[in-house]
Subunit: 208 residues, 4 copies
DNA sequence: AATGAATGAGGTTTCATTCAT
DNA sequence: GATGAATGAAACCTCATTCAT
């Protein structure tokens, strides 16, 4: 990837995060990069395709980081803790942009973005499932959907706090605090609310 | 409130939910209402003030519903369960619009929207705190920040599922399922991660 | 003329004077009158016809005032002095509106307004001519065009000062000061610059 | 200054002169220039800033012309005559636009335009004062305010004639005709009406 | 007579995108 | 590769005028 393209992506991430996708003009991006408006279109077919590229890059990073966790030879619960920690770190770093992604919906024809999002989400879910089974045994399988939703929800809860407040957080300590909470929940589980495979069958709503 | 104004709000909620605030034109809204562009401005000073009105209306509804819970004479844990249930119902009904609110950032000068959001959030936090103390006693106080984040996170987790999937969910059953999970967590609590009053000191980031 | 119509004219004169014709909306006028927008159109065919009415009224006033001067039985030079004085008084009272009339050109199809303006101007010129002949004898006739332009110019010069400054001026004293200046000029006249009837042949430019 | 920008200014001067500022749309200007509406905003931040640019350009021209008079080594009265002549020439060329400037009031926040107008006016007043003192000696000083108002008034009187009629005028001859009139007035002066420095203390009215 | 909701043309401005240089 | 002038569609908003009540 050419330097110029990377430059554009970096500046765009900042601007999209700060002002939102729709409210950031190509002019602003190219000005921030010190290049001409025309140069933008040498690297990206459209403003939307830039968003796609950013998203893609971002997902690649996340997937790579998660893979790293699985390659480590440590105790299952330590892996789970590390997973939580990485989520916090990663999202903290790109929190503004992530918020933007959550906020903006862009055009109705960005089916491709949804595909990417689903791909990313599936990947996260699978990783979490594997970690849960490693940590709590095969019995967790029938609770895996609920536990995924709960854990991801708790992560999001703290992430929102992190994003909205301006303090610095100790993610290692936070992950270490959350693991016993997850333990508690798992221990108390009886009848699941969600079906085991309900997360697989989710179809992201069309936005026509 | 005049019928026409209500009509505009209803249609706008749908359109904003579907396409986002920035991507929905006043033209689209008025077309959907079967009125002229000019008529819009009889009821709202600007497109942004419409967003504000919607938000206001939405918050009023939510606060009223929560108040109703507190007025009931039922067991504390039942109140908590009812609170969860109401959150799911309410948010389910306006899920798309809520997603939009999360997504869009609108203009940098909408300080007023942030004030409303903070007001709403404070209200929710207070309600939850009261319910937790009623249900688990004064000892929960030092864990109240963590428990608030965790419970709101879990709610959000399931809500995202509800919003993104097209299935119907049984909110009563879901609330009934979650209460024991919360019990488990509370029972297992030892040292808090967050300070007791850390939620009060959050200052919503400026978006200059 | 119905009270309501007079009320509208009065308020409109103020608003036009303050903000200009184009920048004053019918809404503003009716609000200032405490009547409905519809009521406006009961009295005036259009916003432009209101301007016409105002103008008409204004000219009637001026012509009447000038007539009064001629009916007085005083020395010719005193008449001239009184004429100057009345010009200052009248224009001072409606200075803002007059400025507006000078400033705004409104639509290209307001031929009628120009006709009125010409009528008014002719009337002033005739009055001035009569006064000059009375005061300086028939010999002034061949200088009457120049003297008209010069006197009206001087009046305008002081009026501009009056309008732009916020001080109060003593118009009687001013007229009394100007009369000797006019005397001086008349005394010094040799060859006219303008032809005697050049003011009659002026055709207000078309503004198509 | 780019050709396109000059083109826009030239056409705009004509259109503003013909129809007024408020009544001339950006669309009309760009159509007259044979460019797109967007192109306009490449050169001017807004329609109002165009007016400002025009005004600025116009004032620069006038000040430069006046400076030229002072640099000439000719008799003081000839300078005064030349000054009058230049005023007529200059204003004749841009008469329509000047009328528009007098007519329109534009927005209440155009303080900057007023500053420019005042600057221009002060410059004219100073030039005239210098010329009067050179031509009539220091004794004229106590009459300088009155003479300024009178001379500018007379200029305006003839200019209005020039602007409104469609004839061509011989400005040299006109200036030559007016100089003796000024002589007459100066000779006859006794007690001034205005204080010596009353023109300096004029504060252009606010247009809130 | 009086209202004021409704209209819709037209205003200024923005901005993604193209293309000759 | 790189530029930036040019485009023109589309955005938000205003306002003179009409008309059912």
């Amino acid at each position: 990837m050419p330097d110029k393209k990377i430059l554009i992506i970096e500046r765009a991430v900042e601007l999209f995060a700060k002002n939102g996708f729709e409210s950031t003009s190509v002019q602003e991006i190219t000005s921030a990069c010190g290049i001409s408006k025309g140069a933008f279109y040498l690297h990206f077919k459209s403003k939307e395709s830039l968003l796609f590229s950013i998203f893609e890059m971002f997902i690649d990073r996340a997937i790579k980081k998660i893979s790293n966790v699985f390659e480590l030879e440590i105790a299952p619960k330590d892996k789970l803790e590390l997973f939580l920690c990485i989520q916090f770190e990663e999202i903290d770093q790109y929190s503004d942009f992530i918020l933007m992604l959550l906020r903006e919906q862009t055009k109705p024809d960005d089916r491709e973005l949804f595909v990417l999002m689903q791909k990313m989400d599936q990947h996260l879910n699978n990783a979490l499932k594997t970690l849960l089974v490693e940590a709590y045994g095969e019995d967790i399988n029938k609770h895996v959907a609920d536990m995924t939703v709960i854990i991801k929800g708790i992560i999001k809860g703290y992430i929102e706090l992190i994003v909205l407040s301006s303090q610095k957080f100790d993610f290692k300590k936070l992950a270490n605090f959350l693991l016993p909470r997850i333990d508690s929940i798992v221990l108390g589980l009886t009848t699941p609310y969600l079906e085991e495979d309900s997360l697989l069958t989710i179809c992201y709503k069309k936005t026509t």
